[in-house]
Amino acid sequence: MNRQTRDRALSSLVLPALALVAFLAFSRPTAQAAQASTATPPTPMHASALQVLQIQAEDVKLPAEFQMAMYEHVMEEVGKTRRFEHLYRDGDRDAASAPDLVTLRCTATGFKQGSAEKRQVTTVTGKTSIKVHLLFTDKNGQKLFENDVEGKVQFLGENLRATFDFGKKVAAVVRQDFTPAKSAKKS
């Protein structure tokens, strides 16, 4: 093999490798940016109370067990963030007396029920995913910020585990956009 042939062979390997590295380097931030494209507050906000309304699924056929499991996981995971002194459920009468109440409305925008069997056998197929639009409003109903999250189960676990992932994602949004409360109580 002469020098010219060797250089040509090397360049044919190096160029695709560089292109792959560049793609990986730039594709990840772009994906994150797309996920965070919705309006979020520039600095973390402070509120003493949060009321989580019932999960809405008007345009999406969401099974009842998913809808309620999502709600319960949101209550649990948001409670763990300790960002609010009071965390109220939908319909809680005490919420009306909270001075700076923030309301969270969750609307399911997409649902794909995968198969745990397929996931466990093939690893790459059978993903379950729930896409939800989050809207945070103040006591007067004015929009504070909104976000889109996706709860999913891709490898291990039954389908309902996607609701746990959803709760974690909502908690991450709350943790990022609200300052910690001095003393958190769960209603």
């Binding site: 009842a64 319909g91 069997e117 056998v121 291990l156 309902l160």
Partner: protein, 168 residues
């Protein structure tokens, strides 16, 4: 040939009748148990997730008992009861997870063995009006029996969709 076809048809018919007679749904409807073996997935106060126990319907409450743990859910607070179907691995839990790393793909092979289960979702309000959702899983065919007992005790339930009503 024709005689063989007749015998095969008769055998298939006998098998079908035997299967239909032994299906759990029929048993569940004919003699519903007083208490149900359930798994609490999420939603009851002071009960851990995925706890197995007994659910009993009394005049004014649904009681979940698991060893020393007991949780009552007032029938008057129940706003909706819905049933659904799902499936789960026969070998589940920690052992089930550990089998995923078993050699020669045997974990994946074991994943093929699954059992159908029923889900029961109860939407209820606490004394302060706060919304809760309790989810249970039951052996196949028993969710509708538990739902029927809850409705008979006074729990509200949305009408059964046509699709669910016609499910085998």
């Amino acid at each position: 040939m024709r005689e063989f076809d007749g015998k095969a048809l008769l055998s298939a018919l006998v098998l079908f009748v035997a299967c239909a007679a032994s299906s759990p749904r029929v048993n569940a409807q004919s003699n519903a148990p007083a208490s149900f073996n359930v798994k609490h997935v999420i939603g009851l106060q002071a009960v851990q997730h995925n706890t197995k126990g007994q659910a009993t319907v009394s005049k004014d409450a649904l009681t979940f008992t698991s060893g020393p743990t007991k949780s009552d859910l007032a029938i008057s607070g129940i706003e909706d009861v819905q049933t659904g179907v799902d499936s789960q691995r026969i070998i589940g839990g920690t052992i089930g997870t550990l089998t995923m790393v078993a050699p020669y793909g045997s974990g994946r092979f074991l994943s093929l063995f699954r059992e159908k289960i029923d889900t029961l979702t109860i939407e209820y309000r606490d004394t302060n009006g706060g919304l809760h959702g309790a989810i249970f899983t039951l052996p196949k065919g028993l969710a509708s029996a538990l739902k029927a007992q809850l409705v008979a005790a006074g729990a509200k339930a949305s009408p059964v969709p046509a699709q669910e009503a016609t499910k085998p």
